[in-house]
């Protein structure tokens, strides 16, 4: 197995001047990245960071994040990339949970001061690293690490050793620390680079945070392939983003459903020259069929990859070949090469095509477990099989369709209703920009269905029209009892809808 570290070092030797990461006005090439990575590794070793130690990172998306992250890995330690949108109290809790004794942190982060106070009490060291977007950013960053000490060879990277802990923002509650090995990261990055056909001359725009698995997979797969990652800080001005896609000749783009919802709802993609955009990817939750079609229509020259996975599987489990979208719209495709997937009933028996059960997966991307939680780990990974908690079925051709998450099924009378199914139907109603559905307690039925709709700019449908549309397309018991309108849907920081907040 070639680790991601080795892959980056190889790029630095063979293509030193090739661009690796761009952020505002700064571009770091592969030699810059490899050099900074080595300085981080050196700085950690000189601080007695040992193999297996956890080092937390409080650094926003930037070339410096990549240098810090891979530098921690190169030192044999495990990186814990923290959510830069979180507050000090949550960050402190995660740092304490994983037992990190050192945090590499950007001193301009709004929570730096408060976090520093809490960490001082806990005896956790903070190494402030300068994160700038200027031309001299790399030198400034390296200087902030302290003088190089010319250590001996870095520790050997073993595939099974811990590389990274990602605290997931599960849509149903408390974050969990997913443990990923070097082998996990390398295997998933390689297979993703293969099926996306990432080329060294690709220029991918990534607006996704690196502290979550999707963004991290974009970083890892593209750097492994020697491509150029262009960072986009925010989606507040989608018009500006699309202009960049055009002006900077971006060849690939990665988004979650809300990214595309924003781009489709608030820009006219057809008015830009996006002929260089070879492909776009979508993961991070189900995107309604109607939105997939709208995206394809708006980007006729780009291949659209619908993908599925979870942090517990490093990032990716399946993808749908773009050319199959006409025939298999709504499917998340088939298992990645090297990954086995089964659909199982509650007794653990494999189900035939057409029947819905839990999606379980086995492969080199399955996590080591949850940090310090052997009970949850044992429940999630059994005999090497990851129990995703997602409900799915295969069609007769073996294509996988996600039917919802077990915990999110709404129990209406004697029936189980998938919120996603109702959302799909409502997404097709004119005037509906986004929709989320959840269950409310109901005296008679146990639960009743509530739909919250974000209307399109041109006007919301009436409640009557919403219910009539559902009646035309769904079994009677699936029609929402309550319909409300909102300016936006409650989402986790990774963009997933928090249905439990809709009650």
């Amino acid at each position: 197995m070639t680790s991601l570290i080795a892959a980056i070092e190889s790029q630095a030797r063979r293509r030193a001047g090739a661009p690796a990461l761009s952020w505002h006005k700064a571009t770091w090439n592969y030699a810059d990245l490899a050099g900074a990575m080595a300085r981080v590794s050196d700085a950690l070793q000189s601080r007695s960071v040992a193999t297996g130690d956890r080092v937390a990172l409080l650094i926003k998306n930037s070339p410096q994040f990549a240098a810090a992250y891979f530098g921690v890995l190169a030192a044999g330690a495990a990186a814990v990339p923290l959510n830069v949108q979180e507050r000090a109290v949550v960050l402190a809790r995660q740092i304490e949970h994983c037992g990190a004794r050192l945090v590499l942190a950007d001193p301009t982060h709004v929570e730096f001061g408060e976090l520093g106070k809490q960490l001082a009490v806990a005896g956790v060291a903070v190494l402030p690293v300068k994160v700038q977007d200027t031309a001299d950013a790399r030198d400034v960053f390296c200087e902030s690490l302290g003088a190089p000490t010319q250590r001996g060879a870095a520790p050997e990277i073993k595939p099974e050793s811990l590389a990274c802990i990602i605290y997931t923002s599960g849509t149903t509650g408390r974050p969990k620390g997913v443990m990923l090995s070097h082998g996990n990261l390398a295997a998933n990055a390689r297979v993703i680079a293969n099926y996306l056909d990432i080329r060294a001359d690709d220029k991918v725009m990534c607006p996704l945070p690196f502290h979550f698995s999707y963004g991290m997979s974009v970083l890892n797969s593209n750097l492994a392939a020697g491509a150029h990652v262009v960072l986009e800080d925010n989606l507040a001005f989608p018009q500006v983003l699309v202009k960049r896609l055009q002006d900077e000749a971006i060849t690939a783009f990665a988004g979650v459903p809300s990214t595309y919802s924003l781009l489709l709802g608030r820009t006219k993609l057809e008015e830009f020259d996006l002929s260089r955009l070879r492909y776009v990817t979508q993961a991070g939750g189900a995107m309604p069929r109607q939105q997939i079609q709208a995206l394809r229509a708006a980007l006729p020259r780009a291949r659209v990859f619908i993908m599925y996975g979870q942090t517990e599987a490093t990032a990716r489990l399946t993808y749908l070949t773009p050319e199959k979208l006409d025939e298999k719209l709504g499917s998340v495709g088939q298992a990645l090469p090297g990954v086995e997937i089964e659909i199982r009933d509650t007794e653990g028996r494999a189900l035939p095509a057409g029947e819905t059960g839990e999606l379980v997966a086995r492969g080199p991307n399955v996590m080591l477990g949850y940090w310090n939680d052997p009970e949850m780990s044992a429940r999630s990974v059994r005999d090497g099989w990851l129990h995703t908690g997602d409900l799915a079925h295969r069609d007769a051709d073996g294509y996988i369709f996600i039917d919802g998450r077990e915990v999110e099924m709404i129990k209406v009378g004697a029936f189980r209703v998938s919120p996603q199914e109702v959302e799909e139907v409502l997404a097709a109603l004119p005037g509906v920009q986004e929709v989320a559905v959840t269950g409310l307690p109901d005296e008679l039925l146990g639960q009743a269905i509530k739909a919250v709709i974000v209307p399109k700019a041109e006007g919301a449908p009436t409640v009557m029209a919403v219910k009539a549309h559902c009646r035309a397309h769904l079994a009677t018991y699936k029609i929402p009892k309550i319909v409300e309108f909102a300016a936006e849907l409650p989402r986790t920081s990774s963009g997933k809808v928090q249905r439990y907040k809709l009650v």
Partner: protein, 82 residues
């Protein structure tokens, strides 16, 4: 444009993003994005406010920092359309 319009906009941001009535917490020229006060969902809420409360339609191509990234900028944009 009127000071009243500026204060109305500032009050909206103070109440919905900074959760304070202390006007000194937000400068009229402060960058909402630069200060991390508003993200992409927050920007949509501001547009909703501009359209619903201030009665001014915001076209897609008008969703740019020059029009929206600060109290004075929003006030100038709104006043220009009224």
């Amino acid at each position: 444009m009127s000071d009243e319009l500026k204060e109305q906009i500032r009050d909206f941001i103070l109440e919905n993003y900074l959760f304070t009535t202390d006007k000194s917490a937000l400068g009229l020229d402060d960058s909402l994005l630069g200060r991390g006060i508003v993200d992409s969902t927050g920007m949509l809420e501001i547009i909703f406010f501009i359209e619903e409360q201030l009665g001014v339609k915001v076209k897609d191509e008008e969703m740019v920092p020059d029009n929206l990234d600060g109290v004075n900028k929003i006030a100038a944009f709104v006043a220009g359309k009224r």
